[in-house]
């Protein structure tokens, strides 16, 4: 590791530190080098300093309504999550950690994979939340920027940390994030990267390693999908154009949109998708795509033709976080569920399967017990070299979000 990677003026690293995507070892060194006050403050105890404003700044948060908690009489919890985002048994019929949770607590988890993309899921639950109705869900996992919006609008409830003693295992660097200071409303489920996934059979044995190649290589014409997740798709393109996504300008954003538009007009892009790209990629209908790397590695288990690439010029970092929506009927059960997954031994089982970065201290040690090879996987235990290339999309004001969404949706919907 060279000195440059911990230069305090290195915005990439600073952003990664804020978001907690630097490994524990390097974070300690980073903390010494950067001396980031917020970071150090967060190393104290969680849930103390809630006075700092949220990502949007200035907008007062509304408070989420709580419902009568039925947890003690109804031993269930309804969890909505993204697809391929939890450990599954060999035959694909059961989910070992969920079964163990039920055995241990008697609480049955109704696990639904209906979270395909943040916007779509938000559109699904917003009318219910806005109308003060129960969404039928007790917990789900939203990406950082969506958590920011949900907190701002008062659609998620404060977590009762008394029911989540294991929350102390949260990785230090993730304890304080700009959208939820002190982690009062959210706890991370997984963190990870967006990069490139491709199917060797469909690309004719060709490796796809850069965004430019993805968007222009004639061999991929009409067989490329991009994510409807703006921050990942546009972020990757901006980095390809040499921009820093932690401090880009309107012009940078527009330039990325132009490059995407050109690719679309040339017929390169098949469609914009949420999490459902995995099926097409496995079958070879999609030759290459912007993908969440953990998904791709999971597909690799069954299909050796599936490959991933982390673009040389940079790739995005994000976390998906547990939140409990307003009027959830089984809040306590949901908190017990979160607590259960914050046990490093349990989280290690999930991490070994989903191949994302676990937010729980001690997971690395437990992982090595499952399979020493896993500790070498840069997607689960990222090396400093990998992290140095990762970038975090900067927080957007409401006005910016509206403006950028409009530009991006004109591209994806037309």
């Amino acid at each position: 590791m060279n000195d440059k990677s911990f230069d305090k003026d290195n915005p990439i690293l600073r952003a990664a530190l804020m978001r907690g995507l630097v490994s524990r070892r390097s974070a300690m060194m980073g903390a010494a080098g950067v001396g980031a006050a917020a970071f150090l403050a967060a190393c104290g105890s969680a849930g103390k300093n809630a006075s700092t404003g949220g990502a949007s700044g200035g907008v007062a948060s509304r408070t989420a309504a709580a419902a009568q908690d039925m947890s003690d009489t109804e031993k269930v919890v309804n969890w909505s999550n993204w697809t391929e985002y939890i450990d599954t048994s060999e035959d694909g019929k059961s989910r070992p950690t969920l079964d163990a949770f039920q055995k241990q607590t008697g609480i049955k988890v109704n696990y639904t994979e209906d979270y395909l993309d943040n916007d779509e899921f938000y559109a699904k639950v917003r009318p219910l939340l806005e109308g003060g109705k129960d969404t039928g869900r007790d917990v789900w996992c939203s990406t950082d920027w969506m958590v920011s919006r949900l907190i701002r609008q008062g659609y998620v409830q404060k977590l009762d940390l008394a029911n989540i003693p294991n929350a102390k295992n949260l990785d230090d660097s993730l304890k304080n994030v700009e959208f939820d200071p002190g982690r009062q409303y959210s706890l991370p489920w997984q963190s990870g990267f967006a990069g490139i996934g491709y199917n060797l059979k469909a690309t004719g044995g060709k490796k796809i390693e850069s965004i430019t190649q993805l968007l222009t290589d004639p061999a991929l014409k009409g067989k490329v999908t991009l994510l409807t997740e703006m921050r990942d798709t546009v972020g990757l393109v901006m980095m390809e154009q040499g921009k820093d996504i932690s401090k880009f300008t309107d012009a940078d954003f527009q330039a990325a949109i132009d490059m995407l538009q050109q690719a679309k007009d040339s017929g390169q892009i098949l469609r914009f998708t949420g999490n459902e790209y995995t099926e097409g990629l496995a079958k070879g209908d999609i030759a290459a795509c912007v993908a969440w790397t953990g998904d791709v590695v999971q597909l690799q288990f069954d299909n050796k033709d599936i490959q991933y690439a982390l673009p040389e010029k940079g790739f995005t970092l994000w976390s998906d976080n547990f939140v409990i929506p307003a009027l959830a009927k089984h809040k306590k059960n949901a908190e017990k569920l979160i607590d259960y997954y914050y046990d490093p031994a349990v989280m290690a089982q999930v991490a070994a399967w989903v191949n994302y970065i676990a937010p729980v201290k001690g997971t690395e040690e437990e992982l090595v017990k499952i399979d020493p090879e896993l500790g070498k996987n840069p997607l689960i235990v990222p090396t400093d070299e990998v992290l140095a290339r990762a970038q975090v999309f900067r927080g957007l004001s409401t006005a910016e979000e509206t403006k950028y969404n409009k530009l991006f949706s004109a591209l994806t919907t037309a």
């Binding site: 949007s56 559109a123 009409g222 017929g267 209908d285 949706s409 919907t413 037309a414």
Partner: protein, 304 residues
């Protein structure tokens, strides 16, 4: 409630002239209520929504922002044009396929008539989505249909006329049009069947007796008599096909987006409600305009 009251008073005493006058209106009441609740009110809401400005965070306020209609048309006119072209082609294809079939069922199927009709409706027992997904399998690269089409150079032909982009069938204009044709075909068959079933075979015999060739018989007798079915069938196929958003999404690519999918995405993913509402309204107005021109040109107002 209203109708039962009317009926009971009606049977109790001979109805007075005045009372009888409002009986038909009372009978219309449920229908009118239905239209108000499920058509007029949503339309008014939609219209007002289309003239609002704002964002999801801060809410929307009414500002009579008519320029959104101009912007919507400017930005999405290719999707409108595409929708009408696809729906038009699909309607034409459906008519070509449905007419002989409906004629056969109505005139020749004899005692198997009901069985064949059930077969026409049978696909409706499964969901629209599943049927469209089935087309993904049917047209996928590793299935025999694509292989045959390649061997017979059909794919080359489709590529030459611009309906596909490469030598596969899926994810192309061709696939979208096929999907639309297939999904709305029964809406064409059933009205055609009803009007052809009423066709008196003796009229065709009479035309033959008067030395009309089969083609003349069709043109002068069968076709004019089936026109109400043709008009009803084309409307029932064209209107939903023009607003469809499933086929383009599942069978097409980013170059085949129809206006239905734009509206769907604006409403459900982007949450730009005013734009989505404005687009819906434009679609509605365009379809009403087209249908009125069509019905007038077909000269079938009295037949409908």
């Amino acid at each position: 409630m209203a109708e039962t009251a009317v009926l009971s008073t009606g049977s109790a005493a001979p109805p007075s002239r005045r009372r009888r006058n409002w009986v038909p209106y009372a009978l219309l009441l449920p229908g009118i209520l239905w239209l108000i609740v499920f058509f007029v009110l949503p339309m008014v809401t939609l219209a007002s929504q289309s003239l609002q400005e704002g964002n999801v965070d801060d809410g929307y306020v009414f500002t009579a922002n008519f320029s959104i209609y101009v912007d919507a048309l400017k930005q999405y006119w290719p999707q409108f044009v595409r929708s009408f072209v696809y729906a038009g082609i699909a309607t034409g294809l459906a008519l070509l396929l449905a007419y002989p079939l409906a004629y056969f069922i109505a005139q020749k199927a004899g005692r198997h008539k009901n069985l064949v009709l059930v077969l026409v409706i049978a696909p409706f027992f499964t969901s629209f989505l599943i049927r469209t997904l089935a087309w993904r399998t049917i047209l996928s690269d590793d299935w025999f249909i694509t292989t045959w089409a390649q061997n017979l150079h059909i794919t080359d032909f489709l590529q030459a006329v611009g309906l596909t982009d490469n030598d596969s069938l899926l994810n192309s204009q061709f696939a979208v049009i096929m999907g639309l044709t297939y999904n709305f075909l029964p809406f064409m068959i059933l009205p055609l069947y009803t009007s052809l079933e009423r066709l008196d075979p003796r009229l065709i015999e009479a035309a033959g007796d008067l030395y009309a060739s089969p083609w003349q018989t069709f043109r002068k007798v069968t076709w004019p008599l089936s026109l109400p079915g043709v008009v009803a069938g084309t409307l029932l196929t064209f209107i939903p096909a023009a607003g469809d958003f499933i086929n383009a999404r599942l069978l097409g690519n980013t170059q085949t987006t129809m206006i239905g999918s734009v509206i769907d995405a604006q409403f459900l993913r982007v949450l730009d409600y005013p734009l989505a509402a404005a687009l819906s309204f434009i679609l509605l107005i365009l379809i009403v305009a087209m249908v009125s021109v069509y019905v007038r040109r077909a000269g079938t107002e009295e037949l409908l």
